[in-house]
């Protein structure tokens, strides 16, 4: 009996693997495993070089990304479940560089704070690995596994200060909202699989486009988008963000605010452009509501924050609204979809540079003041003119004032919305414009405190900034200025034609 069954079994054949295309993932996996091994073998003696090793790993993984970009061919694996196209490469490079800047931010913070250092960098590398897998994932299962691979280490990193109740609370809230959102998202995915009979996004797009519009499809799309709206902290799924950002160690906050949010958008973009493109009637109104609510609520609540990190959390919620806005018009026509995709990529790249920069400054100031209260920034110009100037660059960029990076990001979003030439596009553009003015107010009031007010207690001893933090500040300030003065640069980077497999 068993022999007869065995005779029917087809011998397992390994699907062809393009080793060049998965080289970045493999390199990161190798370094992650190495860091864990060093921890197990050298214990505390390993602390000296783990952060350097993590940085080297992230930069080494960038090398195959560059060679793949030079090669320029789109690569497909596993029945198109894993695709390496221009979009994937741009996002991978962004994730790896943001990861590298986060390592620079973490180096002194983690080693001076009596944290668990070796494990920290192992977790960071796993999370970045999840993100670069996400950039290539064009299949429900791959997207789900990538999402969990990037989230689970992030839950742990948010709780990294084990004995601090605030850090416990930050991690707990993030974890609970995260697992709940991913469970609801999975239920939506199971319905999508049931309706279309496939997990490959490109095939699913075909079936959803030609099939009749049933309420079960709408429900599934709403559930899946809601799951990722949590990840990008869009209103009304944003409640975890301010608490988690405030309680988590600051470098982890920077990581969550930039890389984790971008990963959520990468997944949303892939789902919308490759999977749901035929069902604009469902996702467009949903994106409109999420974008409008995020921009308005984020900016209005940011106005009354007294803590810089909480203010940045609400500013991040508002930015999630700006990034989501082009998706609300993505289904109008092929050209508009193309422009919407470029707007999202442009905004994500510029946002990464300026937001990481703000957190680098917050870390630098906290080395002296041990606080992130905006009132403690008073008189910063008197004793840290350098930090004040770069903070001015980053906050002006976030507010969208030329010539600092952010104006171009906002401009491409407006261009995509207006070129769509629909009521939804115009109305969202008006809401975004009003919100940009509100945002200007709270960024400028921080700057006023830094430049004009007197230092508390007349304490003007200068701040000593470690080299790694200077490196992070230099990199992000340079990128922010370069993108703003010469937007052609980011245009070249974000010149991603429509995703492979996208229809419409």
């Amino acid at each position: 009996m068993s022999a007869a069954v065995l005779a029917q079994v087809v011998p397992f054949e390994r699907p062809p693997i393009d080793w060049h295309a998965v080289a970045p993932e493999l390199i990161l996996l190798g370094f992650g495993a190495l860091l864990t091994l060093i921890d197990a073998v050298y214990l505390e003696r390993g602390r000296k070089f783990t952060s350097a090793l993590a940085g080297i790993g992230l930069l080494a993984a960038l090398v195959p990304v560059v060679t793949l970009a030079i090669d320029g061919n789109d690569r497909y694996m596993f029945n198109d479940a894993y695709v390496v196209d221009n979009f994937a490469l741009v996002m991978k490079a962004m994730f790896l560089l943001s990861g590298y800047v986060v390592v620079l931010l973490s180096t002194n913070y983690i080693s001076e704070g009596d944290y668990w250092e070796n494990e920290y960098y192992g977790m960071l590398i796993s999370s970045v690995l999840g993100m670069i897998v996400m950039a290539s994932a064009r299949d429900l299962i791959t997207i789900f596994v990538a999402l969990e691979l990037l989230s689970i280490p992030a839950y742990l990193m948010a709780t990294w200060r084990k004995r601090d109740l605030k850090s416990n609370e930050a991690g707990l809230k993030y974890y609970l909202m995260g697992v709940f959102a991913s469970a609801v998202m999975l239920y939506g995915m199971s319905l999508l699989y049931g309706v279309t009979g496939t997990t490959i996004l490109a095939d699913m797009g075909e079936v959803l486009n030609t099939g009749e519009s049933t309420s079960v499809v709408s429900l599934a799309i709403v559930f899946v988008i809601a799951g990722f709206a949590f990840k990008v902290s869009a209103v009304p799924f944003h409640t975890w963000a301010p608490d988690t950002y405030e309680g988590a160690p600051t470098p982890v906050t920077a990581f969550l605010a930039v890389a984790s949010k971008a990963a959520g958008f990468v997944a949303l973009v892939q789902l919308v452009f490759v999977g749901f493109w035929g069902r604009g009637d469902v996702y467009e109104p949903l994106m409109w509501v999420l974008a409008a609510a995020s921009m308005t609520v984020g900016n209005l609540v940011a106005l009354r924050q007294t803590n810089m990190v909480r203010m940045m959390a609400y500013s991040g919620i508002a930015s999630a609204g700006y990034i989501m806005a082009p998706l609300a018009v993505a289904g109008v026509s092929g050209d508009v979809a193309d422009e919407a995709l470029r707007a999202v990529v442009t905004y994500l790249v510029i946002y990464a540079a300026m937001n990481l920069g703000v957190f680098a400054v917050i870390l630098g100031i906290a080395r002296k003041t041990k606080s992130a209260e905006i009132s403690s920034y008073a008189g910063l110009f008197q004793y840290a003119p350098g930090l004040t100037v770069v903070m001015t660059v980053f906050l002006m960029a976030l507010a969208g004032i030329p010539p600092f990076g952010g104006w171009w990001a906002k401009f491409v979003v407006f261009r995509a919305l207006v070129n769509a030439d629909t009521t939804m596009g115009y109305s969202l553009a008006v809401i975004a414009a009003v919100n940009s003015v509100i945002a200007l107010y709270y960024y400028l009031s921080v700057l006023r405190t830094m430049w004009a007010d007197e230092a508390p207690d007349g304490d003007v001893t200068p701040i000593r900034i470690p080299a790694s933090l200077v490196g992070a500040l230099g990199l992000t300030a340079l990128a922010t200025m370069a993108f703003g003065v010469y937007p052609k640069l980011v245009d070249t980077v974000a010149d991603v034609s429509l995703l492979v497999g996208a229809g419409g």
């Binding site: 689970i152 109740l165 416990n168 609970l176």
Partner: protein, 99 residues
Amino acid sequence: MMLNQFLLLAAALFCIGVYGVLTRRNGVLVLMSVELILNAVNINLVAFGAFQDNVMGDVFAVFVIAVAAAEVGVGLAMVLLMYRNRKSIDFTEVDMLKG
């Protein structure tokens, strides 16, 4: 093959799970409610897979089971941490961060 009975069971489990997550105060019970939702997903996936004679549903279900185990491992660690630091696993007491 009847598909409806499986889908109804899954939908019921999903609703019980969502209700549990939203109303329970005890940390471990919240985690169990999340597990209920994930099991509703698994029933859906396996039922759809069998209905369409397609193996992807079963594969997806195996991935969900494996990842859920890792997720709950982290969750229980957090509940344990909370118990050590506050001697309570009542989630409604976690409210230091506000604003």
